[in-house]
């Protein structure tokens, strides 16, 4: 995989950490997923079965899942900016620091493309950081999908690829989890008048 593409995947992840608007965050996620889908299609060249699977996954990850999140955004208009999300620089520092520490600590993985190993870890850590530091429900769901994109990239770099049955099952699982997350997004917005999870602070010991 070309270093430019790998850097672009990481940059898109950091951009999700930084951007303010939920729709922009979803668009960045879609861009990252489409880029990964294009990589999968390039890998599958000459194998019709794998190519068809790669196209299905590209459409699902790059179009259907972001579309589902956009549908949630449409139904959960925010009256004002999410109060707990004002510190862009703090978020970026946390994300860059976490990715750097993880890249330094995680040993070499047995993937076919050593250059992609650090990007896999970076995306996984970015996803976790996004879910931790972003407060809007949609951003936390986007964080989960960024982490899943890291795992998908790992699958692309395994020699011989990951079995198609497993990839399809994972896709179905992603759809199910995102559907449940969408239901939560709607209910949280109904209940609090905002999808700011910073408002969910009733359970403390």
């Amino acid at each position: 995989m070309s270093p430019e593409v790998l850097w672009a995947l990481v940059a898109l992840g950091f951009a999700v950490v930084a951007v303010r608007r939920r729709t922009l965050g979803i668009a960045l996620l879609a861009g990252q997923s489409l880029l990964l889908g294009a990589l999968a299609i390039a890998h599958a060249e000459g194998a019709p079965g794998e190519l068809a699977l790669a196209v299905v996954i590209l459409l699902a990850r790059g179009v259907v899942l972001p579309g589902l999140l956009l549908w949630v955004v449409r139904g959960t208009r925010e009256p004002r900016r999410v109060a707990s999300e004002r510190f862009v620089l703090h978020r970026l520092v946390v994300a860059v620091g976490a990715v750097a520490v993880a890249a330094a600590l995680v040993p070499a993985l047995p993937l076919d493309d050593p250059g992609a190993e650090h990007v896999v870890i970076a995306l996984l850590v970015q996803g976790i950081v996004i879910a931790a530091v972003r407060r809007a429900v949609v951003f936390q769901a986007v964080g989960f999908l960024v982490a899943e994109n890291g795992v998908y990239l790992a699958g692309l770099t395994v020699a011989g690829g990951v079995p198609g049955a497993l990839e399809l099952a994972l896709l179905f699982d992603l759809l199910a989890v995102l559907a449940v997350a969408a239901a939560f997004g709607s209910r949280i917005h109904e209940r609090f008048g905002s999808s700011d999870t910073g408002l969910l602070r009733g359970l403390r010991d």
């Binding site: 020699a159 011989g160 079995p163 989890v177 939560f184 949280i188 009733g202």
Partner: protein, 489 residues
């Protein structure tokens, strides 16, 4: 014949979910639920008994493999699922949902409950790591909706936290699966490369660094779902906010069953990891005890206290499997079964109590014996057993686990764990005395509904707990433990 039973075991809860999702009257759904619950439990119990009574190889087919460990967990899931399904009508008559639209709430509850139960049963029977991961994720989707069923602000918070933390944890575990697959699969291999037997067979040939990376990612990711500290944050919230029958399933069936997957991973990769996996489990165990015990000393609402007790008991189980010794393994088997019975009873007791006095959802109880002898009796059996008070099976299981640790040469870990278990015992005993026996405020309290049923359930569970205690003399050195060590030792 076995395959027919197995298909019935997995198909009946899925069909049940479909039937109960139909818009039935309350009476019809209650009756259908009772019939289906008995059918699912009977099929699951039959599969487990067939495996446990036959000598030799596990029950194995193209897509399943039920070994002694799977059979023990099937029995636990069947028993807890049956009790939770039968306890659900009492909960549903007392608490309306805010998460689902009013008319659909009951059918949505039953559909999610049965799908959750089906995924748990399949998890104990499935023969493949990747499929097991998918089923763990399926339990998250179904149970997150159940956690938030009441629609209250705290329930939404608990359900969302549970969904986000466990799915992120499972993403980490999935990377572990891919690392493992990359380490063991030949070019063009199928998903069958991740069958447990194949992973066992391939483990000796895996590069040490790859095996350690895989086991750390897998155990670290699954820890978020088991609720081991330090990735346990969702556990107290989800257990305390879920409907009590769901809390029982979460605590008594889900957590130990996901732990079984972690156990299988550690055992399969042990030849290549040089004990890194068992060391990690001991770390999770001690940390979970250290985090849980201070909360057992605090005056918490009942369900929250039971939730922190789950964290403590998952810590004990992590120690038991981390010691990798037959005596500790006997303790783990006894502990899983005893914890399931005692914890479920505690959660079921809260159904009646919360209906009579909803304020108990937010504050610690006092003097329950003056209010409800049924609830007081149930909580005495539950908290007494969970604290490890003899003759509770959990007393014997904890002794077995500690003895196994000593036999395995982990003296320092055993000493620290013994001190923490002693403190945990005192904390729960204190909660039991304060909550049940201490004089209540003199004002009049409303009557507690469902007293007779609760007394009957308490008698059945107490009998079951004593029966488990009686097995302590036969369990270490038994064929069951020898077979378990053959698979997981």
């Amino acid at each position: 014949m076995t395959e027919v039973l197995l298909v019935a075991m997995l198909a009946s809860p899925v069909i049940g979910a479909g039937l109960l999702a139909l818009p039935l009257s309350a009476r019809a759904s209650r009756r259908l639920n009772a019939v289906l619950a008995v059918a699912v439990a009977a099929a699951s119990g039959a599969v487990a008994v067939v495996e446990l009574t036959q000598i030799g190889e596990p029950l194995r087919g193209s897509w399943y493999a039920i070994d002694p460990a799977g059979a023990v967990f099937l029995l636990v899931i069947a028993a807890v699922g049956l009790m939770s399904a039968l306890a659900s009508p009492a909960y549903l008559t007392g608490d309306a949902s805010g998460f689902f639209a009013g008319r659909r709430a009951r059918s949505a509850y039953y559909a999610a409950l049965y799908l959750f139960w089906a995924a748990l049963l399949a998890l104990a029977a499935v023969d493949n790591l990747a499929v097991a991961w998918l089923l763990v994720e399926a339990t998250t989707a179904a149970s997150a909706l159940l956690v938030a069923f009441s629609g209250r602000a705290q329930a939404l918070e608990a359900g969302w936290k549970y969904l986000v933390l466990t799915t992120l944890g499972l993403a980490v575990a999935l990377l572990g699966i891919i690392v493992l697959y990359a380490g063991i699969a030949e070019d063009g291999a199928s998903i069958a490369a991740l069958d447990w037997a194949r992973v066992h067979a391939a483990a000796a040939g895996i590069d040490h660094t790859t095996a350690v990376a895989a086991v750390v990612l897998l155990l670290g990711g699954l820890a978020a779902k088991v609720g081991w500290a330090p990735v346990h944050n969702w556990l107290p919230d989800a257990h305390s906010e879920a409907p009590p029958p769901v809390s029982a399933l979460l605590s008594a069936a889900l957590l130990p069953t996901v732990m079984l997957i972690a156990w299988r991973v550690e055992a399969a990769l042990r030849p290549a990891t040089g004990g890194a996996g068992s060391g990690l489990l001991l770390g999770f165990g001690l940390l979970s005890l250290a985090v849980a015990i201070p909360f057992l000393w605090r005056a918490l609402p009942l369900k929250r206290l039971l939730a922190y007790s789950s964290l403590e008991h998952m810590g004990i189980l992590a120690l038991g499997i981390g010691f990798v010794h037959p005596i500790a393994t006997a303790g783990v088997v006894l502990h899983v079964a005893g914890h399931a019975l005692a914890k479920s009873l505690g959660f079921y007791a809260t159904i009646s109590l919360l209906r009579a006095d909803p304020r108990l959802a937010r504050r610690a109880p006092r003097g329950l014996v003056a209010t409800s002898r049924g609830a007081a009796g149930a909580l005495t059996v539950s908290l007494g057993s969970l604290s490890g008070l003899p003759p509770s099976p959990l007393f014997f299981s904890e002794v077995l686990i500690l003895l196994g640790g000593l036999a395995a040469g982990e003296t320092a870990v055993v000493v620290v764990a013994a001190v923490m278990l002693g403190l945990g015992f005192l904390g729960l005993a204190h909660a039991l005395i304060e909550g049940v026996v201490t004089d209540a405020p003199s004002r009049r309290r409303p009557a507690v509904p469902g007293e007779r049923r609760l007394k009957l359930l308490t008698a059945v569970v107490a009998g079951g707990l004593l029966g488990l205690s009686a097995t302590v003399w036969a369990l270490p050195g038994s064929r069951l433990i020898a077979d378990l060590m053959g698979v997981l030792g």
